[in-house]
Amino acid sequence: MGPERPRVRARDMMTQLSIKVNGRLRKAQVEPRTLLVHFLREQLNLTGTHVGCDTSQCGACTVLVDGRSAKSCTMFAVQVDGSDVTTIEGLAKDGQLHPLQNGFWEEHGLQCGYCTPGMIMAGVNLLGENPNPNEREIREGLSGNFCRCTGYQHIVNAVQNAAGRR
């Protein structure tokens, strides 16, 4: 016999959420345990934010919460109630790529593209704190994000490109 389990149905304890995502106010009902990344991907269909490890080491799920980078696979959606969230889909404005997006394209900063949205969001955070980083600072600034394809060198170039150094 399996252990006795509490028979609380998740939908009986839904929580109301109100989050600004990419400039639009979104109201939704979520299970309290819903991770931010699943809320974005499953409920808002913003599938550009990826899950690479579930334990916040890889950074593929990085988004901006109130302007600061955050790993959305280890945050509950309810933690960002009332916040302003930016995902990769919200970065380009009026059809114009963000300088980091452009830098990644120009410098071949991606291959399979899976880590790329998180890497770009981490790059946005980095350039926000340090608009003119040197190579060492870029490598350190992105050390919370894994890429298995590029060996990082073209990613470094991409950030330098965005910072106007290439």
Partner: protein, 807 residues
């Protein structure tokens, strides 16, 4: 006067990738981004012990959960899913997608839940209670070979998956020894013999996108569509059809965006078969997405080969003979290509050297670990590592420059094609040119002075150099169980735009860009007028896939051939309109013109339109239209090569190594897009450096993967690498008309031994001759501080292994 070209020639240019706009905006579609109405989610219950007999599985709590559609145990799955197939000719034990009676590695699936969302599926899988009768566990292959303390598969005595295959001088292709005398003679004549046991440790491939699959069986149509994160959708289609008893015409396989593969997504996995079979059985679409913890134990691992290497030489540095006894720990089961991977280590045992006598033997052993299969380089990095480390030990013993000992033994540039003692026929090569380029660009002589100056100050700085040659561009068909060709189609549409399809299904290699560059140049049209489609068996009629650095050399050539066919037919249409000879036509700048007559020219688009409404059909043509298929099967593999140089410093106080410099010279033949090639080399270097310095799959004696998360397994970060310096030489291959060899794996070959040799060089003052990877600071600290390394299972020196010896 010839017209001035307006459209740039694209082949050879650093063209920005056309894949990128969607990927940098989060608009790529990976498997987990797919949704189908009514789709259910699967989660697996996996064994948490490495070896044991299943006594009971209680699924009642899982079954009772709201939202749970179905629960299956391994036994129930076995009623409708056939045993797992393999693609190699070696004998293989019975292997089920889910264990039925005995689990043989921690992470092996034992039961499955299908539920309405992924959280419920996970909850329910966790609520399944399995009880086991534990069996003894073996993780050390050299212990497992004795049959102690357990035999993992009843019919495989002493856990031998492949008992002993000899290969090399005096051996026949069927693996029997015809004549031992040449090898014996080489060793009898030797003035010195280098002897070393080396471990090429187990690695976890870790593509950033874990595996995932969506299967959708449509009952009314009796048709199954399967989306999977795979490197080879056509092989997936064939295998799924075979396993489900369906025709290949009833199965469509799609590889959408694939977030990296590195060899681990060649294999067709139990989860894919089960998803397809469960979708068919339940009549519902199902999705399964692997989480990272599962990926660590359930996706195949790579490497894990022990080499006992003996190198016979004269005191002038001439190598007379090589013996290499290989023991491959393949884990608990044979997967699709598992047993074949270490045979590539044997095939490449001659490396870049003209070695007159070679004997290798291979034993493959079952242990209670995750199965191995291809991982970037797949067998060739192991060969390179064993031979290059031995060459380095020889140089050190003779007090020769590591470059000189290599140069002395190179296969000379005028001897290609060259058949090695292992039977490989190297297509083309100029190893001295690559070595010279590496010495020049790294400023080798200055580096040596720098090292000596640093050493004189008491700093532990070392230099390492490694050559490599690899076998890739895989074909012909005798070399692959799937057939060693690639397929392509070119269609010039009615409006003059071109649709290209390729069976080389990429996962980051940028084929949409490189292939469009080639096709645009061939037809003289704009890059944006060419679309490259891939990864969908309903769109791409046939294909093999992307692995073994083959997409350009084989897939690119197939596309080139299809283009040539269509261009020839289009020339016939144009010739009739222009009243010119086909041979005088020039395709450029979006026009088809006549050589020497600038006025006589037609828009490319006009000729395309005519080809679909040909009134009248030009004489000599049987049918309208502009479309052609091509299959390219190369007559031989390609053998790219190069030289990698490393400079490393080890902190005397902590033992921590830092890679100061890496200079790579790679020769992959002709390059289509140097920007993409650089990216491929960087990525390969990162994985090669990762293996040398920080990556290792470590199992404890209970068979638990103790490096089973990114907290414990050191996947390289941006801070782990210096700025790589890349250079190239160009030696085209004669085996395809592009002269392209393939470059995806090269970086993993030379970097690894060059770094270990640099570490040995840095610590040479402590009398060390060899250090097994990875270069764990503790290991280096113990060498510096004169403490014997701790014994650990499967690694480190052991009595009687002849480690570190020179006879």
């Amino acid at each position: 006067m010839p017209a001035t070209p307006v459209l740039p020639k694209l082949v050879g240019q650093r063209v920005k990738r056309r894949e990128d706009p969607r990927l940098i905006q989060g608009r790529g579609t990976y498997v987990d981004d797919l949704k189908i109405v009514g789709m259910q989610h699967m989660a697996f219950k996996r064994s948490d012990i490495a070896h044991g007999r299943i006594q009971s599985i209680d699924v009642s709590a899982a079954q009772a959960m709201e939202g749970v559609e179905a629960v299956f145990t391994g036994k129930q799955i076995a009623e409708f899913v056939a045993p797992m197939p393999i693609g190699t000719p070696f004998p293989s034990p019975d292997h089920r997608a889910l264990a039925t009676d005995v689990v043989r590695y921690a992470g092996e699936p034992v039961a499955l839940v299908v539920a309405s969302d992924r959280y419920i599926a996970r909850d329910a899988a966790d609520a399944i209670v399995v009880s086991y009768d534990p069996l003894p566990v073996v993780v050390d292959p050299e212990l497992a070979m004795t049959g102690k303390p357990t035999v993992i598969h009843e019919k495989f005595a002493n856990n031998l998956a492949v008992p002993l295959v000899p290969s090399g001088t005096g051996c026949t292709p069927d693996g029997s020894v015809r004549d031992d005398t040449a090898v014996d003679r080489a060793f009898a004549q030797a003035e010195l013999v280098i002897t070393q046991r080396m471990v090429n440790q187990r690695l976890v491939p870790n593509a950033m996108e874990p595996r995932g699959v969506v299967a959708h069986y449509e009952q009314g149509k009796d048709y199954l569509t399967i989306w999977s994160s795979t490197q080879n959708p056509h092989i997936l289609r064939s295998m799924i059809a075979g396993m489900l008893g369906m025709g290949e015409h009833q199965v469509r396989a799609v590889a959408p965006e694939v977030g990296g593969g590195f060899g681990a997504k060649i294999n067709i996995y139990g989860e894919e078969y089960v998803a397809a079979a469960v979708s068919k059985r339940l009549g519902m679409p199902v999705k399964w997405i692997e989480d990272r913890a599962e990926a660590f134990v359930a996706t195949t691992h790579g490497r894990d080969i022990i080499g006992y290497v003996e190198l016979a030489a004269k005191r002038d540095g001439t190598v007379l003979g090589l013996k290499m006894r290989l023991i491959a720990d393949i884990g608990a089961y044979n997967m699709l290509l598992t047993a074949a991977i270490p045979t590539l280590t044997m095939l490449m045992a001659s490396a870049t050297y003209d070695i007159p006598a070679i004997r290798t033997t291979l034993t493959e052993v079952f242990t209670n670990k995750t199965p191995t299969d291809a991982y970037r380089g797949a067998g060739r990095p192991e060969a390179t590592y064993f031979v290059e480390r031995a060459m380095d030990m020889l140089a050190r013993e003779l007090n020769m420059d590591p470059a000189d000992v290599r140069r002395k033994n190179f296969i000379k540039a005028d001897k290609f094609p060259f058949q090695t003692q292992m039977g490989a026929v190297y297509d083309s090569g100029d190893y001295a040119k690559a070595l010279d380029a590496a010495l020049l660009h790294s400023k080798w002589d200055e580096l040596k002075k720098e090292r000596d100056a640093a050493q004189a100050q008491g700093r532990l700085v070392g230099l390492g150099l490694s050559m490599y040659v690899e076998v890739c561009g895989i074909g012909p068909s005798a070399t692959l169980p799937t057939g060693g060709w690639e397929h392509a189609n070119i269609t010039v549409e009615r409006d003059g735009r071109i649709t290209a399809t390729t069976g080389a299904s990429p996962h980051g290699q940028g084929n949409e860009t490189t292939f469009a560059q080639m096709v645009a140049d061939q037809f003289g049209v704009a890059f944006d007028d060419v679309t490259v489609l891939h990864g969908d068996t309903a769109v791409v009629k046939q294909g093999i896939g992307t692995f073994g650095s083959r997409s350009q050399a084989v897939g690119g050539t197939a596309l080139h051939m299809a283009s040539t066919k269509v261009k020839k037919k289009m020339a016939a249409f144009a010739a009739s309109l222009l009243e010119a000879s086909e041979d005088d036509l020039v395709f450029e700048n979006g026009t088809i013109g006549v050589k020497g007559s600038p006025a006589a020219s037609l828009k490319f688009q006009a000729v395309a339109a005519f080809a679909y409404i040909p009134v009248p059909l030009p004489r000599g043509l049987d049918e309208p239209g502009l479309s052609a298929d091509a299959y390219f099967e190369p007559p031989n593999n390609t053998y790219p090569f190069g030289c990698h140089i490393s400079m490393l410093e080890i902190d005397r106080e902590t033992g921590e190594p830092t890679l100061l410099k890496l200079v790579a010279v790679d020769d992959a033949g002709h390059l289509i897009n140097p920007l993409i090639v650089e990216g491929q080399i960087h990525g390969g270097l990162a994985q090669g450096i990762g293996q040398a310095m920080i990556e290792e799959a470590v199992f404890n004696e209970d068979g638990q993967l103790v490096t089973g998360s990114f907290m414990d397994y050191a996947l390289p970060r941006a801070t782990d690498f210096p700025h790589f310096e890349l250079h190239s030489t160009v030696t085209p291959t004669p085996v395809n008309p592009l002269g392209a060899k393939g470059v995806g794996e090269a970086g993993t070959l030379g970097s690894t031994p060059s770094i270990v040799s640099a570490a040995v060089d840095a610590l040479s003052g402590f009398g060390v001759k060899h250090i097994d990877m990875m270069l764990r600071p503790e290991k280096l600290w113990r060498i510096i501080h004169g403490q014997a390394p701790r014994q650990s299972s499967g690694q480190g020196p052991r009595p009687g292994s002849g480690q570190g010896g020179v006879a």
